[in-house]
Structures are given as C-alpha cells and as structure tokens.
Amino acid sequence: MSPILAIVRRDLLMVMRRKSEVLTALFFFVIVTSLFPLGIGPEPTLLRKIAPGVLWVAALLATMLGLQRMFAADHADGTLEQMAISPTPLVMLVVGKIGAHWLVSGLPLVLVAPVLGIQFDLDASALGVLVVALLLGTPLLSLIGSIGAALTLGVRGGGVLLSLLVLPLFIPALIFGAGAVEAHISGLGAGGHLSLLAAMLALAVFFAPWATTAALRIALE
C-alpha cells in the first residue's frame, strides 16, 4: 500500500471510530446556514440573492473548525515526529493528511450543500454550479488551511490565531466560489469563475504541501 494511501486509510479509520468529528463540522454548516434566513427574513428573492455568499461563508467557517485537529493529535502523541523521520518524504505524508482532512471535513459539505441550497430557493442548475464550485473550493480551503494548522501547532491561542492567519487567504476562494453561482444565476455563465477556482486549486496543490511541511518541521524543532 502506498504511504499516502496508508495515511489516508489510517486517518479515515480513526475518524470512523470517533464519528463525532465528522458530524460536528457538518452540523455547524447546517445550523449556520439556517440562521441566515431566520435572521434576515424568508423573502425568496432576497434569499436567492444571498444564498451563494451565505453557503460559502458557512462552508469556510465549518472548514476552519476542523483545521486545528489536522495535525494536533499526531503532534501530541508523537506520530508526527515519526512521520518527520520516516523514509517516506514528509511532503507526501502531508498530502495524505490533507486529503484525509478534506474527505472528512470538506466532502460532506459538498454533499449536503444542495439540500441547503433548496432552503434558499435555488434552482437545480444553480445547485449544480454550487456543487462544482464547492468541489473545487473545499480542497483549496483544506490546502491553504493546512499551512495555518501547521504554523499554529502547540501555540497559545491556536484556534483564534489560526482564523486570523487563514481567513484572509481564503478570500479569493470565497470571491470566485460564490461569484460562480451568482454569475450563473444572472446568466453570465460560471465558466470564468470556475476556471479561476480550478487554477487556484492547481497552484495550491503544488505549493501548499511544501509550505505546510516546512511549517511542521519548524514546529518539531
């Protein structure tokens, strides 16, 4: 079994034995999204307008919740140290960790989003664009977030600091992700937004793991 697959399997196995972790982020996503219509009013045209933004911000925040635990447990019990001195390059193991994190924190959001989109009276094609945008955007969030998670390992005030570091970097994903759905709704076509999102994802896949690996080694010194 390749090392990357091994680490993904390992993380998924551990999550399955403690299901609460998956469900927390998911419930957060659902609850936050539901708060907005309650706070703003049930008027359908207004809801349709704010839907892309609200869903995306909620997805962002839900991802943020799960970022802290990406490396924290491994750091605490010494397995991170073992990964750092493993013959397998640490960057590959980091890619595996990020992949596992996305499968647990990001993919469920993608799958639940259409259901929530219905609450906002989005039509089927808009929901489709939403799913594609989130499919491209949530891995991007996991990748960028992993850098912050690695930097704040074992640091005081980690959670809030993590948000401060990572949320500004999430903004382009938010702009193009929500923008894609809005562009589709207004008839302009989501192609441009989605391609930019895909481009950012490609960039992040190549660069983020290296930054995260460097940050992990710094944390282990």
Binding site: M1, S2, P3, A6, I7, R9, R10, L13, M14, R17, R18, A76, D77, G78, T79, E81, Q82, M83, A84, I85, S86, P87, T88, P89, L93, R217, L220, E221
Partner: protein, 201 residues
C-alpha cells in the same frame, strides 16, 4: 558508521553542549548520560535529524544527514518520549500502518509474532486505549523488533517497563548489537548490555 563532529546545541538562550564528537559503528552502542536538562534528549533529536545543530555536522556512512536523506532514515529507528501510538487503533493496526507509512513490508505473521513475543498475546486486536501503560510500551518494543533498522536511537526506552519487559528490551538491544547493529540510548539506569560506551553530557 554514524559520526558526529563539533556538535553544538543551543536551546533558547542556553548553550547545552558544544564541540561534541561521537562515533558509533556496527556492533557498538552508546549510553548517553547526564543530569536532567543536560541535553540528552536534544542530542538524540539532533542525531535523528529532527533538529539542526547550531554548529557541527552529522554523517551517516560518510554522507551528511541533511533533512532529505532517505538512505539514513531507512536505517534509522527513533523513539522519543512519546509512545507514537494511535490510541483508537489496535496494536496490530498501529504496527501495520507504521510500516506502510514507511513504505516497508510487514507480513501479518511477523507482526503477530512480535506482539506475542512481548506479552501481548490475545490483545493484538484491542484498541490501544484499553491497554495499560506498560502494555502500551510493549507495543513499542514490538515496533522496534519488526522494523529492520541498523541504528536505534532510543530516548529513555526503559521508562514504564516492568522487570520482565526491561529484560526483554535489554535482550533485544543486546541481540541487535551482536548482530552488527548500532544503538544510542539514554537512561538513568545502568544497563546490562555488554559492549557499550558512555557519552557524558
């Protein structure tokens, strides 16, 4: 085959040790001694490649161990203060995943045999969480036994081991050294393993 020259370690403001030289060759083991805070753990982490020395260099078979030295890591086994066990996985799964992440082969029978050798018969499939502290340390012994590493760097390996387990580990290290392996250990106890040299910090 592992040689260190001119090692200097600085932690925060304190200079723990400087200009330290050491050599370990096949069939030898080093006992690193010193008071608490003298830098034993820091030295071992330097040798394992987890941290960089302020000055000096470390070489494995003549080559510098830079951070990306795969050759060195294939032959290295390191255990720090943490047990490096995942509590939610079983002892067997821990061994299997560790091997897989290292890209090494570990046959099921070998893993089971190792766990049984160290007194975990019947407990291989339990989540590590339910094992006692001593039993958890024995899983570490199994890991040491199943990983084919030439150099063992162990930080306080005898902690939390009962008398029988101490014997088992001492035998394990003894066998390893006699068969041409190398080991570097820290421990507050004197160790009943022949052929060792002391490095005093």
């Amino acid at each position: 085959m592992l040689s260190a020259h001119g090692l200097t370690c600085v932690r925060g403001d304190r200079r723990l040790f400087s200009e330290l030289d050491l050599i370990v060759d096949g069939g030898e083991w080093l006992h690193v001694r010193g008071e608490n805070g003298a830098g034993k753990t820091s030295l071992l982490r330097l040798l394992a490649g987890l941290t960089q020395p302020a000055e000096g260099e470390i070489r494995w078979c003549g080559e510098k161990i830079t951070r990306a030295d795969e050759e060195y890591r294939k032959n290295l086994l390191f255990f720090g203060h943490h047990g490096a066990l995942k509590e939610d996985l079983t002892a067997l799964e821990n061994l299997e995943f560790s091997a897989a992440m290292d890209g090494a082969e570990l046959a099921l029978e070998n893993a089971l045999r190792a766990l049984q050798r160290f007194g975990l018969k019947g407990r291989e499939q339990l989540p590590v969480r339910v094992l006692s502290a001593g039993q958890k340390r024995r899983v570490m012994l199994a890991r040491i036994a199943t990983r084919n590493a030439r150099l063992w760097i162990l930080d306080e390996p005898f902690t939390a081991l009962d008398v029988k387990a101490v014997d088992l580990l001492a035998t394990l290290i003894g066998e390893h050294v006699t068969q041409g392996g190398m080991a570097i250990l820290t421990s507050h106890q004197t160790m009943p393993i022949p052929g060792g040299r002391v490095v005093q910090l």
